[in-house]
Symmetry: C2
Subunit: 238 residues, 2 copies
DNA sequence: GATGGGAGTATTGTCAACAATTTCATGTAA
DNA sequence: TTACATGAAATTGTTGACAATACTCCCATC
């Protein structure tokens, strides 16, 4: 049960849908330069579709916060700053804290087993650093864990808001960072799972918030030591 | 500084924008029946625009969670259940709790004065119940208060997520409810403002979460005593 | 040399027609 | 009577052309 497969499960039935998913992947993977202006005629020609379909796809990307649009001017790939990333961490702290609280209350026994299973795999993976060299690019264990907890909240809208809208942005940035999945982070995951399994929602929320704050600090330290080039900030300001 | 004027400030420059805002108001005010299917040719004719522009507006409404769309089938005005409203309260509890914490840290002295000013007006208004008969329909003091705090968080994305995406749904439902602005709620507001003015973020968050939980309970009690007709659930299921 | 205006180009917004899909109604067979 | 197949009507998805707006480059003026 991969992260992507559940959150973005509906396969494209319409041209605009397929375009949307293709463009979304390209943006998240970084093959479309951050901050670059989108030329509608050019992109439409590249993908061999009409401008109308492309515009609809761009509209969806705008909803995902992956592009910004100005009337009569055009759309740009997002290129958000470290400050904006920190804003997202604050929001995640609040929402995922709540998700952990709800998960402790609402997860089924089967889901608890699945979560513990996941944790064991991560524990094993982190002891064998050979294989997990760059596999995090396609399958991030940290995201898998968070997604599992979020799903467990059983709050449909919370799941949508986090997985669809917010985590795209997380992945957008994470792709440009080193894997944030350290032994320390794993230990935090373990404590969260323990609290959830005890059905201790209060503690699960506290621990999840602590974990996300810690991740935030780790990311901030890492980011501040990087140059703009390393960050892939190949923006082309207007 | 009205709620609407700040959160949805940009005036329509394009036909699709104007359409979007018109439709959004119609849906929130209830003049478009909840759950009703949208007929593209019919609506386009009503507003005297092409289907293309209408479809773009519908796309924006979908992003605001005010309509749902299925490929090759069409769009429907949302008609969400009490359970879904409760989900939204949970999300608000988490996000606005964080907003209150941040507001205590980041609000300027001037903003604090404005907030206290607002509170005084509400205190006065609640003592003179004559005038505030149904004025809450257009200018809800409770929403004004919450908006003021959210703005004070200085977290741009948090503001957008709450004001643009989530509060539309709150207003959608609130329009069908009695005014939730009771003396009890006002007292809760007072306590929150006190904490924010003391720059006590921890306490502000606790109080805000308590307030939203209490609002949730008040709404739930009220909703459970209402018939589907009173709720305006004039849905026309597929 | 810098600034402002204006024609020309390119891009975005809008529209109406065409294609694909779904829905509804009718008729037939079990 | 019910169930299913079939075809017509309506609706949505897609496209290319036209209109409106923004950008660019050049030239005149200060």
């Amino acid at each position: 049960m991969a992260f992507q497969s559940v959150c973005q499960s509906q396969e494209p039935v319409t041209i605009a849908d397929r375009l949307f998913q293709d463009l979304r992947s390209s943006i998240l993977e970084g093959s479309m330069p951050a901050g670059k202006k989108i030329s509608e005629p050019e992109l439409a020609a590249t993908y061999g579709v009409s401008r109308g379909s492309l515009r609809e796809a761009i509209g969806k990307l705008e909803n995902c916060n992956l592009v910004t649009r100005k009337p009569n001017i055009g759309a740009r790939i997002v290129n958000f700053s470290i400050d904006q990333l920190m804003e997202i961490y604050q929001i995640r702290e609040a929402m995922e804290g709540m998700a952990a609280r709800l998960a402790a209350k609402n997860m089924t026994e089967q889901e608890l087993l699945h979560l513990q299973e996941l944790l064991k795999r991560h524990q094993k993976a982190i002891k064998e650093p050979g294989k997990s060299g760059n596999s995090h690019l396609k399958h991030d264990p940290d995201l898998d864990f968070h997604f599992c907890v979020i799903q467990g909240s059983k709050n449909e809208r919370l799941v949508r808001m986090l997985c669809q809208d917010l985590y795209d942005l997380v992945r957008f940035y994470r792709f440009r960072l080193n894997p944030g999945f350290t032994p320390k982070a794993l230990r935090e995951h373990e404590l969260i799972v323990e609290a959830i399994c005890r059905r201790d929602g209060e503690m699960a929320e506290v621990l999840m918030r602590h974990h996300i704050r810690a991740s935030r600090n780790r990311a901030q330290i890492q980011l501040e030591s990087m140059t703009p080039e390393e960050l892939g900030q190949r923006e082309k300001p207007a």
